[in-house]
Structures are given as C-alpha cells and as structure tokens.
C-alpha cells in the first residue's frame, strides 16, 4: 500500500473519535489524579459520580422539556444542576466513606471506595431503572459544520471545545488562585501545609468537589453524544479514566490529560485497524506495557520509598 493509497479520511475519522473519547477520559481522569495526588487514594466511586451527573442532567432536562423550555437553555440549566449535584455527592462521599478512614491502612479506604461504588450503582438502578434511558440530544447541529460533518460532527466539536475550556479553567484555578495554591501545598506535604495554617480537610473536600464537577461535565457531554445512559456507564468509564490517570503518571495533572488522549487514540485506532471486539484488551494491554517499563507512568516521577 503506497502512501497515497492510505485512506486518510478513515484515519481522520478514527483520530477525531479517539480525540473525543480521550478528552472525556481526561476530564474524568483529572478527578482521580487530583484526589490521588493529595491523599493517595483511588477514589473508585468517581466513575459513579460521573454517572450520577448524567442522570441528574437527564432528570432536569426531562422536567424542563415538559415545562416548555427549549434547546440551549435546557442544556445549560441541566449541566449546571448536574455539576451542583455532582459536587454535593463528591463532598458527601468524602465525608462518609473516606474521612473516617484517614490514617487507616492503605487497603481500607480502597475497599470502602469499592463498596461505595457498588452502593451508588445500585442506588441509581433501584431508584430509576436498570434499562438504558434515552438521553435527549441537547446539542444542536451547527450549519457551518455541514462540510466536515461526516468526519466530526457538532456534538464532538462541542465536547472538544468544552474540554479545552475546562482544562484552561482548571489550570487557572490551580496555578493562580488561593485554593489552587493550598491544594498544591497539601499535595507536596500535608503536615507542613497544616503547620502553615492550611485547613487540609477543607482542601481535600475542595479537591473532591472540583473533581466531581469535572466528572459531571464529562458525564453530560458523553451522554449527549451516546444519547443513552444506564447505571453501569460509570464503572467502565471510571476504570478507563483511572487507567488514563495511571498511564500519564498518577498525581500529575498534565499527565492525566496526556494519558486520556493516548488511551482514547489507542482504543480508537486499535478498534478501527485491528478489531473492535478487543477495545478493552488493547487499553489494558497498553497499561500493563507502560507500567512494566515505566512504573510511574508517562509523566510521573519515580518516587523513592523511604523508610
């Protein structure tokens, strides 16, 4: 096959798909990586927050549709309510399941997190439905996207745009605000941060809240792309996003974004060129490969264990 025969259109299609997927992974992975950076905990229930975000958005949009709202106003309101609720869930989650376990052996909060994840999944299943629910397509088709719509449609453009804006916002928050400074300080050395008067409990709560808001944004975006949701979407997305965070080097914020994109592109390319049946195999195969040769992830620094 010569260079010119190469099907560029197919490649671009896969590339765009991978990019969109990767940016959603990145949004969720940020929540994992920020929490891990501060308290070294895999927040296993993070994927559930994302799922709950999508469900709340669905409820809000359903109610608003009946009361005669339309189009973009529904989208904005649903997204805002979803973010508020995700933040509230993240905050409560930390208070109930993780705060009492501060200082416990490493396995305890992890198991507590798995329990919380099971709990939240089943709570949504029992209070709503185990079936797939149709998610209304809230994002309109833009006219100017017409010529390239067969490669990347307007929903995907909105996803990419929102992700970029969110990342910029997060960077600003962490680099230039007081909260961000406190978060970075706590991440570096919690005891020292406490000594200089940072309320570490509040910083940890803030981290959960910010991570949950990001997850809710991801949830609303992916739901309006796939147009259907059920109570299990959080699990796989959570696992993948965590994989992305580990790939990039857990605890490292740019790493999570990079990891998300690498994972999304790998999955998309592998599905397109090799076999779509083994998408997860490639994702986890990549994870094992990278961890074997770079145990700290792509951008992570190897930390020496001290006794």
């Amino acid at each position: 096959m010569s260079f010119l025969d190469f099907d560029w259109e197919y490649f671009l299609l896969l590339f765009a798909g991978g990019l969109v997927k990767g940016s959603i992974y990145a949004l969720i992975a940020l929540g994992y990586t920020m929490v891990y950076g501060i308290i070294q905990l895999i927040n296993f229930a993070h994927g559930e927050i994302y799922m709950i975000g999508a469900f709340v958005a669905l409820m809000v949009s359903g109610v608003l549709t009946i009361y005669g709202f339309s189009g973009v106003s529904i989208l904005v309101l649903a997204a805002i309510v979803a973010m508020i609720y995700a933040a509230a869930y993240g905050f409560t989650l930390e208070r109930i399941a993780y705060r009492p376990l501060r200082g416990a052996p490493r396995l305890s909060p992890l198991i507590s997190a798995i329990g919380m994840s099971l709990f939240l999944q089943n709570y949504v299943m029992l209070s709503q439905t185990p079936d797939f629910l149709r998610f209304p397509s809230l994002i309109p088709d833009f006219a100017f996207m017409e010529p390239i719509a067969h490669i990347i449609n307007s929903v995907e453009v909105v996803i990419l745009g929102t992700t970029v804006i969110t990342m910029l916002g997060l960077t600003y928050l962490i680099k230039f605000t007081k909260v961000g400074k406190a978060m970075r300080a706590t991440q570096q050395d919690m005891t020292m941060a406490r000594l200089v008067g940072i309320n570490s409990d509040r910083v940890i709560s803030m981290t959960f809240v910010i991570g949950s808001v990001l997850a809710a944004i991801g949830g609303v975006l992916i739901a309006s792309r796939l147009e259907q949701i059920n109570f299990m979407i959080g699990f796989l997305a959570g696992v993948k996003a965590f994989t992305a965070a580990v790939l990039g080097g857990i605890g490292n914020i740019p790493g999570a974004v990079l990891g998300g994109l690498v994972l999304g592109l790998t999955e998309s390319m592998a599905a397109g060129y090799i076999s779509s049946a083994y998408e997860d195999v490639f994702a986890f195969g990549l994870l094992v490969l990278i961890l074997t040769f770079r145990p700290a992830g792509l951008l992570g620094k190897a930390v020496k264990q001290k006794v």
Partner: protein, 469 residues
C-alpha cells in the same frame, strides 16, 4: 448532647433528601415526555436518613472512645437492677438496637403489615436478648466458655457435631438446596484462595475471578473436545490456574498497592472480553454446554445423587483448602507473606526474596481458584462468560473483607452468609448489592478487622528452664 445529636441527625436527613431528590423523587420517561413525582420516597429518605444518622453518630462516638465491648464492667457489680439498666443503655449496641426498634415501629404507615410485624418482632427479640445478656448473663456465659476452653473434650465434640451436620445435610433437604450449598461452598474455597493473596500477602487482586474462569474453561473445553475425565481435569485446572497466576504476577511484581489493583482489574476485564469475543474457542456468550458431571468409577447416578456427590467433593475440597491454608499460614512462606503485607521494604531488607514470595502468593491463590473452577463447571454443566464478571470478583473480595482479612473461619462464615442469604431472603434479593456496598463501607469504618478477627500467633515467654524455684 442529646439536642446536638438530634440536630445533627435532622440536618443529615435534610441533606440526604436534597441529594437523593432528583433520583428518588423524579422519574422521567424520555420517550413519552412524562414526569412522575414520587413524593413518598422523599418521606422514606427523610425518615431513614434521620435514624441512619443517629446510628452513625452513636457508633462514631463509640469508635472514638474505643471501649472494649463486654469488658468486666466493674460499674455493673453491686448496683441495683435499675442502675444497671441505665448503664446498659449507654452501651452502643443497645442504643443502636433501640434506634432500630424505633425505626421499625415508626415504619407502620409506610410498609405492609406483615413486614412491619416481623421486623418489629426481630428487633425486639434481639434487643431483649442483648439486654438480658448485659444485665444477667455476662458472668454465666463467660464462666461457661472458660470451662469449654479448658476442657480437652470440647474441641473433638465440636468437630464431631460439625461433621455429623455436614454429612447429614444433603440427606435432610432436597437437591435444589444442596445445589445452592455447593455454590456457597465453591465461594468458600474462592474466598480462602483470595484470602492468601489479599489477606495474608496484602496484594489486592481485583481480577481474581479470571483464575476461576481459567479452571472452569479448562474443564469445559477439555471435556467437550477431548472427553477428558473430571478427575484428570481437576489437578489440570489447578495447575493451569497456577500457571496463569505466575504469568500475570510476573509483569506486576514491581507495582504496589493501587497500581496493582488497577492492573489486576484490567486482567479480569481482559479475560472476560476474550471469553466473550473469541467465539471460535470459547463460544462467546452462548458458552459451553453439556459438560460431564464428575464420575465415580463409572457409576450411574441420577441428578439428585450427582448433586449430593458434588456436594461431598466440594466439602472435601473445602477441608483440603482449610488444611493447606492453615499450614501455609504458619510456615516459612506464610510468615514471609505476612511480613510482606506489613512492610515491603523492611521485609526485603530482612533478606526475603520479594519476587518469589509475591509470585507464590499469586500462584497459591490462583491454584485454588482454578481447582474449584473445574468443580464449578462440573456442577453447572454449562458455563458462559457472565459467571466471571467484575461483580463476582467483588463478591469474593467482600467475602474476604467481611470475614476478616487473613482469618479462615471468618471467611467461611462470610461466604456462607453472602451466598445463602439472597437465596433464602428473596424479598431483599434486589437490595442485596445496595446492602453489601453499604456494609463494606461501614465495616471498614467501624470494624476493620472483619466479622472474626484474625488472631495472630503470639509467643509467651515462660521463663528459662531450670529457673523454677
């Protein structure tokens, strides 16, 4: 104190009502554009949230003060009955039971009368038993158990009773229940196997069920394609399981805690996806059918007999597993595992070969999963990938956690409870996972050592010989 507790509980209930509002109260039908408002659920959440918060606060307070339960409370002796009652009321368990009773009594308008009556009765009975124990029986029970402990006969008698019960069981109930028991015992073995990896060696494995699948498919494929016998496949399943355990253990030797968890989770999902999608070999979601039941020197058996036979096979396997795990625990390698669990760096510094210790932990865990997988395939006579999902891994893990990590007896109890409970309490069947999830969280917070805590071997210094005088 009481006022602030109640205020906190009210706030918690309101907060929970806010949190659950969009999911519990609103239900949207997106196809017909209908919204259903379920206000009754709001009442449920407020009411349950209030009591849950009370219980939480009592337990949390108790956890902080960490008073050992049922200690010989000197304050109880020589007091009048009324005073003793007042002291007992401060016991957290009594308080929690009181709250539970109040909760069920108050449920009256919300639930069916039958459920209300039964839950009230049970709560009242447990409360009465606990109070009676606290007030009158503590001493008697304690002296009784002391006699039991000292008497040399008590252990053999206990084992004899247990043995007779185990042998008598399949002949006293119908084969459906024996079949369920077989499944429960299979999970006992799985729990004991994972107990080696997680409980003893401290390596969190979230994809453990993959080894179980390896065993099941080993037998399934070998039997249906080559007609190999159950008895040949039983060790083969274990060996191939071990092989995969070592194979998967190799790349993750250098990883710690959390990375390990995610990679093993990945392995579990890879296994599931391969089983589902490689249809040429594993027949995908249809699975493999017509697997032979275990044979006994070519004897003809009907279904009920075969079930009973399988039951005894699993019982033997359980006993074997208990024996081996117990011996391993005190052996050189078992102590190496525990050292690794406590502190990896210190352990390696003491000259323990980390790679070998970790790999052997995986290998032993995987061996039992593979072996029991063969029995699982023989019991079901058909297998498909849906028996080997992450949820099953989570069941096994919660068995280990609930039973008390590293504790063999606890794991057995937990496995039996977890597998049998949903069968006999059909009503709560669909709430099963909700409850398990919550129990896992609460267990970690309020009783991290599990139902039955693992007792560590202690050595007593009894003075050097020849110094008695």
């Amino acid at each position: 104190m009481i006022a602030s507790t109640i205020r906190k509980a009210v706030i918690a209930a309101l907060w929970l009502a806010f949190l659950t509002f969009p999911l519990m109260v609103v239900k949207v039908n997106t196809l017909k554009d209908l919204v259903e408002w379920r206000w009754i659920n709001l009442a449920w959440v407020l009411y349950s949230g209030f009591f849950a918060s009370l219980v939480w606060q009592v337990l949390y307070q108790y956890r902080k003060t960490k008073k050992a339960d049922d200690e010989d409370d000197p304050s109880l002796q020589g007091l009048s009955l009324g005073d003793r009652l007042m002291v007992s009321l401060k016991d957290p368990y009594v308080l929690v039971l009181l709250f539970a009773l109040a909760y069920f009594v108050g449920l009256y308008p919300l639930v069916s009368f039958e459920f209300w009556r039964w839950s009230c009765k049970i709560a009242l009975a447990v409360l009465a038993a606990k109070l009676a124990y606290k007030l009158f029986l503590v001493k008697k029970v304690r002296s009784c158990s002391a006699v039991m402990k000292e008497s040399p006969l008590s252990k053999p008698i206990l084992f004899a009773v247990l043995g007779i019960a185990v042998i008598y069981f399949p002949f006293s109930v119908d084969s459906y229940q024996v079949n369920i028991m077989v499944l429960a015992l299979i999970y006992v073995v799985l729990g004991l196997g994972l107990n080696i990896t997680v409980g003893l060696a401290g390596l969190l494995d979230l994809g453990y069920i993959a080894f179980f699948a390896v065993g099941a498919y080993t037998y399934g494929l070998l039997n249906t394609h080559f007609g190999l016998d159950f008895w040949i496949c039983l060790p083969l399943g274990g060996l191939i399981g071990t092989f995969f355990g070592v194979l998967l253990g190799l790349p993750i030797l250098r990883l710690r805690g959390d990375y390990l968890a995610i990679v093993t989770l990945g392995f579990g999902m890879i296994a599931h996806q391969v089983l589902t999608n490689w249809t040429d070999v594993f027949k995908g979601n249809l699975g493999i059918h017509k697997i032979e039941r275990p044979g006994f020197f070519g004897m003809e058996m009907d279904l009920a007999q075969a079930t009973t036979y399988t039951y005894f096979l699993v019982v033997l396997l359980v006993i074997g597993t208990i024996f081996v795990t117990n011996r391993l625990k005190d052996s050189r390698i078992g102590r190496a595992w525990m050292a690794l669990r406590e502190d990896e760096i210190a352990c390696v510094a003491m000259g323990i070969d980390m790679a070998r210790t970790k790999l052997s932990a995986y290998a032993f865990g995987a061996f039992w999963a593979g072996t029991v997988g063969v029995i699982f395939a023989a019991r079901n006579t058909s297998i498909n990938p849906n028996s080997f999902t992450f949820l099953e891994s989570a069941i096994v893990l919660s068995i280990v956690v609930l039973g008390g990590m590293g504790s063999i007896f606890g794991v057995i109890i937990a496995a039996l409870v977890m597998m049998l409970m949903p069968e006999y309490l059909r009503d709560i069947g669909e709430y099963r996972w909700l409850v398990f999830g919550a129990v896992m969280v609460l267990m970690m917070i309020f009783r991290p050592q599990g139902l039955i805590a693992n007792q560590r071997r202690t050595y007593k210094y009894e003075g050097a010989k020849g110094e008695e005088s």
